[in-house]
Structures are given as structure tokens and as C-alpha cells.
């Protein structure tokens, strides 16, 4: 098991290195980083100070390692708009984003998985057709259009819910509903195809031939096997927790990390953009690590490689 984890850790490290390199390269390719980040009108000595701080005068590969060091020590420079340290600016927004995405994540799972499983068990029944139609529309309707429609219906015409801002928990209902519907549709569709594939396997037929009632066959044999591919999608959603709300937060002007990213991009506050991208990448890589560990627990064949080698 350890060996398996070690290899996953290495892959995660490689991904992080590539993300940091990507940000480093993108920053460099878009002209002189100092002027880009500090803004063209910033006083020359501020630009020189920035250049010295980031060692922009040194050869490229020295800058590269300096950049790595900066990333891992958390000093990513100051935000151009309010001069505060970017890491602080980003971290203070995380709680409000999580306030949206964590409930949405649970809605996805609570609605998506049972719907997918039920649809697979009752193929071509009315429920199956409904789940598939919901899944396709969930996939086709972009979140911002769904959000606008919900605002149009629930706040403009019916006036039940506020359409923007973050003053009370009632503001969070529409954003969570928007993300919940999209995510649940995707998960339902995926769980359904995973279940259908498992139900076609011959060990399911063996379980029935053993005399197990159908419900036991589904609960004890089918579900655990269908969980394996579903974990990948859940892992991906887990990773998207921080990044997932970019569009929805903008529509409902919910002060989360997503909205911060959009605003910083709009007024080219690149230090903040850099910090947000790095943080989102780190959480995604961490989420993939969690998924790999879950894989090992649920699917003995992964773990088995390490165990068989020891035997």
C-alpha cells in the first residue's frame, strides 16, 4: 500500500511542479513581469524594487528557483488594488466560497448518485427517461443561464429570494441550487453508466445463481464495484470545490474566490490571479491524491499490486 501511495505522491508532485512552471512561463511570456504586475504607470523605483525583490535581473533559471521558493514560502507579492498581501486576500475569501460549494457538493451526491442508481436498476422506465433528460439538460444548460432563470423566477417575479449579495443564508439558496442541479445531473449520468456496466458483469450473474435476492445482489455486489469509477468524478468535483463557483459567484455577486478571480482578471491584478490559480491547482492536486487513496481502499486490485509483490 505504501509503495502505491508513494507513486501517487510523486505524480502529484510532478503536477504541482508543472502548474508552477506554467504560471512562471505565462507570466514571463506576457511581456516584462514587473510592468505587467505593477502596472505601466507605477513609479520607476517601485518597479525596480519589485524587480530586485523578485530577482528579475538574474538569469532565468535563478528566477525560476526563486519563484519556486516564493511560492512555497507564501510570499507572492502584493495586490495592486489594495496593496495587501495576496495570499491573505485570497484566503479571506475561501470561507464564503466553501459556504456555497460544500452544500452544493452534498446536494450533488445526495441527488445524483441515488438517481443514477435507480435509473440503472429500472432501465427504460419513466424514471430512467426522466433522469436521462435531466442529465442532458443539466449538461446543456450553462450555469449562468440557469442562475439567471432562477433569479428571474424566484426573485424578480415571485420575489421570495434575494438575487445578489451575501447578507443572509437565504442569499445562498439560489447559487447552491444552480450548482447542485448541474453537478447532480453530471453525477447521475455517470453513476447510471457505471452501474449499467457493473450489472452486465458475470459476477453479478454468479451472485444471483447463488440464490441471493436481487436487492442483496445490488447492495452487496453491484454498488461497491460501481463506486470505483464514480469516485473519480467525485474526486474531480471535490477538487472543483474552490474553483467551481467562478461563474455562479459572479452572477449572484457572492464575494468568494471565484468572483475575486474574475474581478482580478478584469482589472489585471495579476499577483492575485497568480495566487488564486496556484491555490486552486494545489487543492485539485490534493483532491486527486485523496481520490487515489480512496481507490486503494475500495479497489483491492490497486492495493493488491503492492501486496502481491510482498507475498
Amino acid at each position: 500500500m505504501l509503495q502505491y501511495l508513494l507513486s501517487r505522491l510523486l505524480r502529484a508532485a510532478v503536477s504541482i511542479v508543472m502548474v508552477v512552471t506554467f504560471v512562471f512561463v505565462v507570466l514571463r511570456m506576457s511581456g516584462d513581469p514587473a510592468t505587467v504586475i505593477m502596472g505601466a504607470d507605477a513609479p520607476p523605483e517601485a518597479i525596480d524594487a519589485f524587480r530586485k525583490a523578485w530577482g528579475l535581473d538574474q538569469p532565468l533559471w535563478v528566477q525560476y528557483f526563486a519563484f519556486f521558493e516564493a511560492v512555497f514560502s507564501g510570499e507572492l507579492g502584493r495586490s495592486m488594488r489594495d496593496g495587501r498581501d495576496v495570499v491573505a486576500v485570497v484566503l479571506e475569501r475561501v470561507p464564503s466560497t466553501l459556504a456555497l460549494t460544500i452544500p452544493a457538493f452534498f446536494v450533488n451526491i445526495a441527488v445524483g448518485i441515488p438517481a443514477g442508481v435507480y435509473a440503472a436498476l429500472h432501465r427504460n422506465s419513466l424514471i430512467d427517461r426522466c433522469v436521462m433528460v435531466m442529465a442532458v439538460t443539466g449538461f446543456a444548460v450553462p450555469s449562468f443561464i440557469l442562475a439567471m432563470l432562477l433569479v428571474l423566477i424566484f426573485s424578480v417575479t415571485l420575489g421570495w429570494l434575494p438575487s445578489a449579495g451575501q447578507d443572509s443564508w437565504r442569499n445562498a439558496i439560489l447559487p447552491i441550487a444552480t450548482m447542485g442541479f448541474g453537478g447532480a445531473a453530471l453525477l447521475a449520468r455517470f453513476t447510471r453508466s457505471a452501474m449499467l456496466e457493473v450489472l452486465g458483469q458475470s459476477y453479478i450473474r454468479t451472485a444471483s445463481a447463488k440464490g441471493l435476492p436481487w436487492s442483496a445482489v445490488v447492495w452487496r455486489h453491484a454498488l461497491q464495484n460501481a463506486a470505483i469509477p464514480t469516485i473519480t468524478i467525485i474526486g474531480f468535483m471535490l477538487g472543483g470545490l474552490v474553483a467551481g463557483a467562478v461563474v455562479v459567484e459572479s452572477v449572484f455577486s457572492w464575494p468568494g474566490v471565484g468572483r475575486l478571480l474574475v474581478v482580478s482578471v478584469a482589472n489585471r491584478d495579476l499577483a492575485v490571479v497568480q495566487a488564486v490559480v496556484l491555490m486552486i491547482a494545489m487543492t485539485m492536486v490534493a483532491a486527486n491524491m485523496v481520490v487515489d487513496v480512496l481507490y486503494g481502499l475500495v479497489d483491492p486490485r490497486m492495493q493488491g499490486q503492492a501486496r502481491a509483490a510482498r507475498r
Partner: protein, 338 residues
């Protein structure tokens, strides 16, 4: 039937191992799939290579054709050394040696018609004008028993037997000197197997080509081969005339293999081997068969037996006991084949 000219195919002490590693960082274990195999084949002769899964017979076939380079040993074809796979003269040599595969549907391209695929070797090696190529394709398709209208059909719309005939037609269209068949009939039904075996034997008589027939089915190998070699865990353990090896197998493993074949009306006592073939990753010391061999002795556990002719009838066998170099641990069960 040893041909006057140099042997068509000569392989000396071939060895090939694969790296099996677990995960991104996991330990790499070396698996010796083929461990010192020598064989020769002359024109018009069929050598049957028989053994259970994991004995290295398919790897040997790929080494002989030069698809994979051997780690040790060498292959010579018609006197010249086999070029490395992928080089241009390796590709040119394909004209003279061809392969028939186990699953005909997988070996054919679903997108192209049968006629186009049978003609492909001619296009690749730019043989003859397009008119001559069409003629040759029609002739070889008739030779394998396919009707002209099959040329326009796609592989999916043919039966298993017809597909395998198409694969054989494609292999024969450039008149190769050597045909390597890797389990050509095991994916087919019994009645279709008979068709393909008859076809291969007729084709060989007419064209006089050499044939290497790899299979786990000893009965099919006996039907088609002039010489048979039994393989176990990467080595040839016995080689000789098919009827001789079947009537009176010398090597204990060959005895077990022959007796294990279920046969209508067979009443003979059967030698049941215990356990499974050992993992090629950790080969037993000395003779690889000793853990399962009913007559294994101390020498068998330490020394690797050499494949050499038996004094009594010249049958080549790799077993200390069979050569009388070691007294059998207990009287070998007298096997009375029906």
C-alpha cells in the same frame, strides 16, 4: 525432409525477458519468457510448438519473425541474419515470411474490404501492376476457398472461418517461404478448425513453404506437424516425431500433457499434475518442472537438464531421469496410452 540448401530458419539459444514493474516507482521484476530456445526449420516442413499458456511459445514465434529483438541468441533466415524490427530491410523481408493470428476479426481492419486487405502486401511491397495484383488476389482468394463476392465484403459480415481464410489469403499473396501460425484455430469452433487445418496442410503441400505452428492443442499439432517441440516455462523439454512423442512421451511433463487430453472412449489411467505452473518471475532452481515432477531427484533440483538426443532412439529430451543420469525418485507410472 531436410532440404538440400541451408536451413530455411535457424534459431540459436534465444532468450527474451520482460520488465514487470508495479506502479510508477514499484520494484521491477525480470520475467524470462524464453530461456535458451534453439530450433531449425527447412522448406516444406511444419514444426509444431506446443505448450500451455505462459510457456513462451508465442514469444518464440515473435522472436523468430524478428518482431521483437532477442536479449540473447540469434535468428538466421535462409542463411542471412534477421534484421532488427522496423528497419527497411526488415520490412522488405516481410515479403518472404508471414503470420496468421489467433483472432481473425482483430487481425483484420474493420474499415476496409477483404479484397483491399488481401491486396495490401502487394501494394506495400509494390509487386506487379494493378492488373496483376487483382489477378493474384483473385487467385489466392480462390485458393483458400473464398468466393469472388467476398472481396467486396467487410470482415464483420463474414463468419469466423471465412475471416481466418481471408487472413491466410493476405499472408500467402506474396508467396512467402515461411508461415508462422500463432494459435490459428483456438478461437474457432471445432468444425471450422478442421476446415482451417485441412487448408493449411493443402497450401503447404502445394507451395512447399516452411510452417511454424504454435498451439496449446496437442491433437491439432499432431495432425499438421512433421516435427513437434513441447515447451515448459520458456524452454523446449522434448522434441521429435509427433506420433512418437504422443505414443511414448519421454519427458515427465510431456507424459502428463498427453495423458491430460480428454479423449472419447479413453480408459487409461491419467497422470494428474498437482499445483499450477510456477510464476516465471521466480523460476524454480535446476529443472523448472521439478516441483511438480513425480520422478524428480536431487540432481533435477540443482542442475538444469540439457536438450540432447536420447541414446535409445535419438529422441531429444531435456530430463536427467530420461537420460538415465539420475535414478527416478520412484518408478515412473507406466503410462498406457489407449
Amino acid at each position: 525432409m531436410s532440404g538440400g540448401t541451408a536451413e530455411l530458419l535457424e534459431a540459436r539459444d534465444l532468450a527474451r525477458s520482460y520488465m514487470m514493474h508495479r506502479g510508477f516507482l514499484g520494484r521491477t521484476t525480470q520475467v524470462r519468457a524464453v530461456d535458451g530456445v534453439s530450433l531449425s526449420l527447412s522448406r516444406g516442413e511444419t514444426l509444431g510448438l506446443v505448450g500451455e499458456s505462459g510457456c513462451g511459445k508465442s514469444t518464440t514465434a515473435r522472436l523468430v519473425l524478428g518482431i521483437e529483438p532477442p536479449d540473447e541468441g540469434a535468428v538466421t533466415f535462409d542463411g542471412t541474419a534477421m534484421p532488427r524490427s522496423g528497419t527497411s530491410n526488415w520490412a522488405a523481408l516481410r515479403r518472404r515470411m508471414q503470420m496468421v493470428y489467433q483472432d481473425p476479426l482483430q487481425a483484420l481492419d474493420k474499415r476496409l474490404t477483404i479484397g483491399a486487405q488481401v491486396a495490401e502486401p502487394l501494394d506495400i511491397h509494390r509487386i506487379g501492376t494493378s492488373a496483376e495484383r487483382r489477378e493474384r488476389v483473385a487467385a489466392v482468394m480462390a485458393e483458400v476457398g473464398l468466393q469472388p463476392h467476398h472481396a467486396a465484403r467487410h470482415p464483420q459480415s463474414l463468419s469466423g472461418g471465412q475471416r481466418q481464410r481471408a487472413v491466410i489469403a493476405r499472408a500467402l499473396v506474396t508467396n512467402p517461404d515461411l508461415l508462422v501460425c500463432d494459435e490459428p484455430i483456438s478461437a474457432l469452433d471445432v468444425s471450422i478448425q478442421a476446415l482451417v487445418l485441412n487448408l493449411l496442410m493443402d497450401l503447404q503441400e502445394r507451395s512447399g513453404m516452411g510452417m511454424l505452428f504454435v498451439s496449446h492443442d496437442l491433437r491439432a499439432v499432431r495432425q499438421i506437424s512433421h516435427r513437434v517441440a513441447v515447451m515448459y516455462l520458456g524452454r523446449i523439454v522434448e522434441e521429435g516425431e509427433p506420433d512418437a512423442v504422443l505414443q511414448d512421451p519421454a519427458h515427465p511433463y510431456a507424459q502428463a500433457l498427453v495423458s491430460a487430453i480428454p479423449h472419447p472412449g479413453k480408459t487409461a489411467a491419467r497422470v494428474i499434475l498437482q499445483g499450477d505452473p510456477p510464476n516465471p518471475a521466480n523460476r524454480p532452481s535446476g529443472c523448472a518442472f521439478h516441483p511438480r515432477c513425480p520422478v524428480a531427484t536431487a540432481t533435477c533440483r540443482t542442475e538444469v537438464p540439457v536438450l540432447k538426443p536420447r541414446r535409445s532412439d535419438g529422441r531429444r529430451v531435456a530430463c536427467h531421469v530420461a537420460h538415465g543420469e539420475a535414478a527416478p525418485a520412484r518408478a515412473p507410472t507406466m503410462l498406457e496410452t489407449c
